[in-house]
């Protein structure tokens, strides 16, 4: 035990990977995870396409918005805020998006996986890569909210080390301190 904080509650022992990385999902598809830079217009367009085709019943707390124009405005507002964004790619198609949006000193996290790829392990890989990427970018406290009934998402967040900080509302608030976690070196 070299770093006392790394074993504290809510800080997972497994190091988070740092993107870019590839893996094979539960259905044998090769998926690539990489950073979306603010100058990557093609990546942005592919992301808009994913959200434009997003199952409306999978929306959470009002996002993603419905309709291409609103999706575009929403994503642009995230990029303007200097958020950190990772995309999951299957070939030339974006199938997942995870983001850390600055909120004062902290960051708010959200992750969306296209309905065709849910339950395939993409979400777990994507959030772990985002946390690894965030740690290398100096991100500290990360928080999120999730609807109380969304047990699959809550289980995922707990698995990567999030702890519930407020469960009195319709949504559950969870938090993780990234300044205390280790990342894999990419070599």
């Amino acid at each position: 035990m070299t770093d006392e904080r790394s074993t504290a509650a809510g800080t997972p022992a497994d190091p988070f990977p740092v993107p870019p990385l590839t893996f094979t999902d539960a259905s044998g598809r090769e998926v690539r995870i990489d950073v979306l830079s603010s100058s990557d217009d093609a990546g942005f367009e592919s992301l808009v396409e994913m959200y434009d085709d997003f199952d409306p019943s999978m929306r959470a707390q009002g996002i993603p918005p419905v309709g291409e124009r609103r999706v575009r405005t929403w994503l642009q507002s995230l990029l303007v805020l200097d958020s950190h964004n990772l995309l999951a790619w299957l070939g030339e198609r974006v199938i997942g998006h995870a983001t850390l949006v600055p909120d004062g000193e902290d960051h708010e996290l959200a992750i969306f996986v296209h309905q065709d790829f849910q339950g395939s392990g993409v979400g777990t890989r994507l959030i772990r890569a985002l946390l690894g990427y965030g740690a290398t970018r100096g991100v500290g406290a990360v928080w999120l909210t999730v609807e109380r009934w969304n047990h699959a998402a809550i289980t995922l967040y707990e698995k990567v080390g999030f702890e519930t900080t407020n469960a009195e509302a319709l949504d559950v608030e969870m938090e993780l301190d990234l300044s205390a976690v280790h990342t894999e070196s990419t070599g």
Binding site: A60, I63, S77, L78, L81, P102, E108, T145, A169
Partner: protein, 122 residues
């Protein structure tokens, strides 16, 4: 229609104020505005009351303005039932940096406990 607007001073409640006043002018609603102690709001009840008076004066609308003390959610629900309002109006929630809508505690309580129809303004 007899409308009760509850506002505690958060940004979404001020948005609800201007939209509800606008609607009352058009529809001829009898509007009552209840100013609540919202611990989640950065504005004091006195500041909220000044904002209410300004919006009413701007719209040239007569409305009853009152202060509600005590637990804001339950007092608002009780007032709406006691005085037989047709509708209870509240702000529709704040957005997180990410854009997620988060309902305030007052709105949650009112939604679950009110027997009077509730409108959240978006």
């Amino acid at each position: 229609m007899k409308v009760l607007l509850g506002i505690g001073g958060s940004d979404d409640s001020l948005e609800a104020l201007s939209r509800t006043v606008e609607r009352a002018v058009e529809a001829g609603d009898a509007l009552t505005i209840a100013i609540l102690d919202n611990p989640e709001s950065e504005r004091s009840p006195a500041e909220v009351e000044a904002a209410v008076e300004a919006v009413l004066a701007d719209a040239d609308l007569e409305a009853t303005v009152c202060r509600v003390t005590g637990d804001p959610g339950s007092e608002l629900v009780a007032l709406a039932e006691r005085e037989e309002f047709d509708e209870l109006v509240l702000g529709g929630g704040m957005r997180s940096p990410m854009g997620k809508i988060r309902l305030g505690h007052i709105a949650e309580f009112v939604l679950l406990n009110s027997r009077v129809t509730v409108t959240l303004v978006r």
